[in-house]
């Protein structure tokens, strides 16, 4: 019976996450179909357990089946406390998944994941990509196709005088900016992200980041722009800000190179968006 409940719990957890849409706060929806399938497969396993339990009562081992096949069930769940440990452990994610609020990755994780400015130095490797600031989807295309796409993106995004970084174009447009910063100089750009104070920043500078997700939250990385305000600001880490301004470049000493910087002329604090992450699309 307890097995039925646990299996049912897992199926319900997946169902719940899909229905509320919270699943997108855990994994890239590109892989959503896998967890969606789990609702049915685990659900089926649960129903199977229920039917079996009904037909056989609480008898653990069905004798005819035991005679038919090598019976090696329950090989380690033989004592009551081992069983208890198993069930408690397996129930744990169901409970915390259903009842604890979904947290959003924030600057704590940026720090833990090692926002290691100091080591980033691509002098020795011209092809090095700075995943941390600059999304590099060269990963997804053959190099010639990739270059063509980059150029197309660049043309597409730099054509207009105004570029808004939103959920859909966030990673690709940022990539175009990092690859062809010259083409975006003096363009108007708007970006939304959470505040992160990196090393060696002036009082009027900070980073605006969003987490980009490949597969699941465990492999998230941060992407964004350095922004520079006309005067010193005192925003705390993790404050969400929408800012717009014109793009230029500045030398950033921890990177030992120039990076794009957004000279902001208008900005305001905003609520954390409903979908705080940017997802990789192939």
């Amino acid at each position: 019976m307890i097995r039925f409940l646990i299996l049912f719990g897992f199926a319900y957890l997946f169902l719940h996450l899909h229905l509320t849409g919270d699943i997108s706060k855990y994994i890239n929806m590109r892989y959503g179909y896998l967890s969606f399938l789990m609702i049915f497969i685990i659900g089926f396993m649960a129903v199977y357990q229920l039917v079996k339990w009904n037909m056989e009562g609480s008898k653990q081992h069905h004798t005819s089946e035991k005679a038919l096949f090598g019976h090696d069930h329950s090989h380690e769940n033989n004592t009551w406390w081992k069983k208890t440990v198993t069930y408690v452990l397996v129930i744990f994610p169901i409970l915390t998944g259903l009842f604890l609020p979904v947290a959003t990755l924030d600057s704590n994780i940026v720090r833990a994941k090692g926002f290691h400015f100091a080591e980033i130095d691509n002098d020795k490797d011209q092809y090095a990509n700075h995943q941390i600031l600059k999304p590099d989807t060269s990963q997804y295309y053959e190099s010639s196709t990739y270059k063509k796409m980059l150029r197309q993106d660049m043309e597409k995004y730099s054509q207009l005088n105004q570029l808004d970084l939103n959920d859909d174009n966030y990673l690709r447009a940022l990539e175009a900016i990092y690859n062809y910063p010259g083409n975006f100089t003096n363009k108007h750009i708007s970006i939304m992200g959470f505040v992160y104070h990196g090393d060696a920043l002036q009082k009027n500078q900070l980073f605006l980041f969003r987490f980009g997700i490949i597969h699941c939250i465990a492999d998230a990385g941060v992407f964004g722009l350095m922004v520079q305000f006309p005067h010193a600001v005192t925003y705390k880490d993790d404050t969400w800000i929408r800012a717009q301004g014109t793009l230029s470049e500045t030398y950033y000493s921890p990177f030992k190179q120039t990076i794009p910087v957004l000279k902001v002329n208008a900005w305001h604090q905003v609520q954390k968006p409903k979908s705080p992450y940017a997802y990789r699309k192939y």
């Binding site: 090598g70 959003t104 833990a112 597969h215 699941c216």
Partner: protein, 305 residues
């Protein structure tokens, strides 16, 4: 009541669970199907008798299975029970998560459509599986471990020799498969939960930047990347993308170490291996893998490969 960092830990934990459960389910069903439909006699017939042959065979079998490192442990345990030689099963377990089309394609894509890392990764994985398989076969006499695995199965009745009068219908087999899959889901599931919990805690509380600051010689860089791979416990399908983000910091040697070691040993599958094999055996196994990956990565770093 709960601190922010605990909630973030929980979020990472749940995300690892959600990511891994589909692969665990695939793993337990494959394992159950092997249990129900593949006989020991068949396996005994197709697996080469000699040591080297069986290790190579195990590695090649692993290449055919698109399983990731957590899904493969239950399959491996099943194979050992089905009297597959231990060294072949271990080679299978090590090669499976790395040498398969899905993972290699992800690696190819992640490294800017270059074959170099794919070549290093597959090559080193292949070499390590064979080397470790052979080492295991010399270090651990077959019977010793088999006793252990068999003993765990306290009432393992072996009835396949005397077939019962009633014919085994497809329905019986289906029922058997379901039973095995459910049982295995529980026995593997608890280790997944435990491993994912530790991995999530490590990701939340350990500062990778501190670790990385030690990585300034080839030797320490390789060691650090192996530790990192162990801690992060990424699925072998996703780890290439994370590894490629370290490209600006590390040459191919340490990256290959990350990609090979992480897919063979990490926190969640270590816990799962401990449930299947003797502690001493797991320790020796990880020691062998560690040394082999380290040496291989060093050779790549040194430009000898």
């Amino acid at each position: 009541m709960f601190t922010d960092s605990f909630l973030q830990l929980n979020t990472i934990f749940i995300s690892i669970i959600i990511e891994a459960v589909p692969f665990i389910i695939i793993g337990v069903f494959i394992s159950a199907i092997i249990q129900m439909f593949v006989s020991e006699a068949l396996l005994a017939r197709i697996i080469p008798k000699n040591r080297f042959g069986s290790v190579v065979f195990g590695t090649c079998m692993g290449s055919l299975f698109p399983a990731c490192e957590c899904g493969i442990v239950p399959i491996t345990e099943r194979l050992v029970r089905k009297k597959v030689p231990l060294q072949a099963a271990i080679a299978f377990m090590l090669a499976g998560p790395i040498i398969n089309p899905v993972v290699l394609f992800a690696t190819y894509i992640a490294f800017g459509s270059s074959w170099q890392m794919v070549f290093y990764r597959a090559g080193l994985a292949f070499a390590v599986s064979i080397a470790v398989g052979l080492l295991v076969s010399y270090l651990f006499p077959e019977d010793q471990l088999r006793d252990y695995v068999d003993k765990k199965v306290s009432h393992y009745h072996h009835h396949e020799a005397n077939q019962p009068a009633r014919r085994i219908t497809f329905f019986d087999r289906f029922k058997g498969t379901m039973d095995h899959a459910v049982d295995e889901f529980f026995s593997v599931g608890k280790y997944l939960v435990f491993g994912a919990l530790i991995a999530a805690a490590m990701q939340t509380y350990i500062k990778q930047s501190v670790l990385l600051s030690f990585a300034n010689t080839p030797v320490t860089a390789i060691l650090i990347m192996m530790v990192l791979a162990f801690i992060m416990s990424l699925c072998s399908e996703a780890d290439a993308f994370v590894a490629s983000s370290f490209r600006s910091m590390f040459p191919p040697g340490p990256l290959t170490a990350f990609l090979v070691f992480g897919a063979m040993v990490d926190i969640k599958n270590l816990i799962m291996m401990l449930s299947t094999f003797k502690k001493k055996f797991v320790a020796a196994l990880i020691g062998c893998i560690f040394v082999c990956v380290f040496v291989g990565a060093l050779l790549i770093s040194g430009g000898w490969l």
